[in-house]
């Protein structure tokens, strides 16, 4: 009997000790929550972003943590779906009771996720989203790192105009970020006196553009601009070659900024332009160290999505330090006033939380390597013009 009793008391005591330990751990760690696409269309980019952020978590903990507390990351896979993302953030806030939120990858998931952050009044630092629409809803809790999407193609269009090109063919996926790129392209074309001779939206699952390309060819464009992600931009280029669509400039969002673009297209990637939020060759504080560490850990150069994830950590760190607390109101105020240069570039937002400090960059695939070609002061290579005709390759 006494044996049994001591067993029970030991068990109860044990559980109590565990509960106290767990409680203490929760109170001690600063918990950061995020959803990020690990499956679905945005998986590749989502994963890079997460890895970049995780690298910051490791480093900040090695430095002794934030405000003397350890940083712990909780993340879930949102499957590239806005509705799943929204649910997960709800869970992060109400179930996991995280202290800080960082945004998911892609503008359409961020559109949904930021609504949850707004509802709970918790600031969300977002890398991985750049559609201006996100900051046009009067929300007070969403802070961006990326250069807004509606300026993505400006450098390329200005370059095209300087070469005397005037006829723009514009295609984009029908979700928030690509639509914003499209709007930016139309505005820039108008400003530069260029004409959009072809415009079409396509669905998130589209992989066959052959008929579209045949139709586009009939309009005789000089520049093809795609508000795209990875799978659609590679599919388009492959089919452009099949259907012998030739223009002096091909430019796409997201896809060309990723190593997979070159892997999937091989030599056909050569000459394709794109835009990048960040490149590991930029002269910014800590870029070299970050890129080297990332490459050693994951086996490839960090794309901008990874740089963004890492930069998010630095912005969060600066804001929490400035606020001296993880309280939502104080962190929000700190994020609004912050003006710093991170490994990802300058962070400075306007009153809506939209990024206004960071420039964008133009890249081009040249001989199997992604080179920065614009603006001049960041360039690693001169832009190669025109795109080499398929027949002469």
């Amino acid at each position: 009997m006494s044996k049994l009793k001591s067993f029970w008391s030991a068990l109860v005591l044990g559980l109590a000790v565990q509960a106290i330990a767990a409680g203490a751990a929760v109170a001690k760690d600063i918990v950061v929550g995020t959803s990020v696409a690990l499956t679905g269309k945005y998986a590749r980019t989502g994963q890079e972003q997460l890895q970049g952020f995780e690298m910051w978590v490791d480093e900040v903990n090695a430095r002794g943590g934030l405000l003397g507390r350890k940083v712990k990351l909780i993340h879930y896979d949102d499957e590239s779906k806005p509705e799943t993302g929204a649910k997960l953030y709800e869970k992060l806030v109400t179930d996991d009771k995280v202290d800080l939120l960082i945004g998911p990858y892609s503008s359409d998931v961020t559109m949904a996720a930021s609504t949850v952050a707004e509802k709970h009044g918790m600031p969300m630092v977002s890398s991985g989203a750049s559609a201006s629409e996100i900051w046009e809803r009067g929300y007070k809790n969403i802070f961006g790192l990326y250069t807004p999407a509606n300026t993505y193609m400006d450098q390329i269009l200005e370059f095209a105009r300087s070469k005397g090109l005037k006829r723009v063919a514009l295609i984009y996926e029908n979700t928030a970020f690509p639509i914003d790129i499209g709007n930016g392209v139309k505005a820039a074309a108008k400003r530069l006196g260029m004409e959009v001779v072809f415009e079409e939206e396509y669905g998130k699952a589209s992989t066959d553009f052959s008929s579209m390309i045949i139709r586009m060819k009939a309009k005789k464009p000089d520049v093809v601009v795609g508000g795209s992600y990875l799978p659609d931009s590679t599919a388009f280029m492959r089919q452009a070659k099949e259907n012998r669509l030739y223009v002096p400039i091909f430019a796409f969002a997201v896809g060309p900024a990723l190593p997979d673009f070159g892997k999937n297209l091989g030599a056909d990637a050569n000459g394709v332009m794109g835009n990048s939020q960040w490149e590991p060759t930029l002269r910014l504080p800590g870029v070299h160290e970050f890129a080297a560490k990332y490459k050693a850990k994951y086996g490839h150069e960090p794309p901008y999505h990874a740089g963004g994830g890492y930069g998010t950590g630095q912005v969060l760190e600066a804001a929490v330090k400035k606020a001296g607390s993880v309280e939502s109101d104080k962190v929000r105020k700190a994020l609004l006033g912050l003006d710093i240069v991170t490994t990802f570039g300058r962070y400075k937002v306007d009153a809506t939380g939209k990024q206004i400090g960071k420039p964008g960059y133009t890249i081009q695939w040249l001989d199997g390597v992604r080179e920065v070609v614009l603006p001049d002061d960041a360039a690693t290579h001169k832009p190669v013009y025109p795109f080499q005709d398929w027949a002469k390759r």
């Binding site: 669905g203 699952a205 008929s211 579209m212």
Partner: protein
């Protein structure tokens, strides 16, 4: 309007026929399985992706051209299909339709997640035989032409096999009436293994050719599965030739809709066509599903 130019119209037609031939190869296998065992294989497109990933790995490691990889991939996936039939599908044959739907759905989930574990969800492609052959203003994309050729050769061979050989006739007998076939001395279990293997192999062949046309990931199957369902319903469930007609019809209509309306509408074509065919001919173009 510049789109009514005969060159452009012919180009749409060629694009549609080439895509349709590949659809047909994929859908014929699905229909064969349904015809012989009344099982709707939701995991059919996953066998296509298994073929695609084997071809990808062979290209990556050995530099093997996908067309050569067919010789390895098709028999390998045939055997895999036989094993899957023996271990899983055989147990749900003759059960209510929901049972086989659930079983193959489970199989699909397992295969997709296995794919994600092994290959992650990155998009892959095999960048060989890109570009096209030009005949004046008309272009014929090389990888698509090769895929269509392979599709036609395999589909016609399987058709002849079903019509001309003893084994093929046995498959058709089981499809017509399994019990009577059994009474006549046909080993229906063996026939079903053979059928499923054949269907898996056809899907794998489509997958191998696909590597040169599209980027794919372990999650790319769903789209193809849905289209295949639409094709066999349009063409007629359980009828081998029905899937062939359905596939080619879908490819061509998609191409013209994509050309004259938009790519977004092209994506919806399969389902619009489905509704249309069901309204006019509820059993599909050649259907036997409800005939008995």
């Amino acid at each position: 309007m510049e789109l009514l130019d005969p060159v452009i119209l012919l180009q749409f037609l060629i694009g549609g026929l080439l895509a349709g031939a590949l659809y047909a190869l994929l859908a014929c296998g699905l229909n064969l399985v349904f015809g012989v065992m009344r099982v709707i294989n939701v995991a059919h497109a996953e066998f296509m992706l298994i073929g695609a990933f084997i071809a990808y790995v062979l290209y990556k490691w050995l530099g093997l051209h996908p067309v050569v990889a067919l010789l390895v991939t098709v028999p390998a996936v045939f055997l895999l299909g036989v094993v899957v039939q023996r271990l899983l599908i055989e147990r749900v044959v003759g059960r209510p339709l929901l049972t086989s739907l659930l079983a193959t759905y489970a199989l699909s989930i397992i295969l997709v997640n296995l794919g994600l574990l092994i290959f992650a969800s990155d998009y892959r492609a095999v960048p060989v035989m890109q570009g096209s052959l030009a005949f004046g203003d008309i272009v014929i994309p090389k990888p698509r032409a090769a895929a269509a050729l392979v599709s036609i050769v395999i589909t016609v061979s399987v058709y002849l096999f079903l019509g001309r050989t003893r084994l093929g006739k046995a498959i058709r007998a089981v499809s017509e009436h399994a019990q009577v076939a059994q009474i006549c001395g046909i080993d229906v279990v063996r026939i079903r293994m053979l059928t499923f293997g054949l269907a898996a192999a056809m899907a794998a062949a489509a997958g191998v050719m696909l590597t040169m046309i599209y980027s794919f990931s372990p999650e790319s199957g769903a789209d193809f599965t849905q289209k295949c369902f639409a094709i066999i319903i349009i063409g007629g469930m359980g009828n081998f030739l029905g899937a062939l007609y359905g596939g080619i019809l879908l490819g061509v209509v998609e191409s013209f809709v994509g050309g004259f309306v938009s790519t977004q509408w092209a994506e919806a074509t399969a389902y619009l066509l489905l509704v249309l065919v069901l309204l006019i001919r509820p059993t599909g173009l050649t259907g036997i599903a409800d005939a008995r």
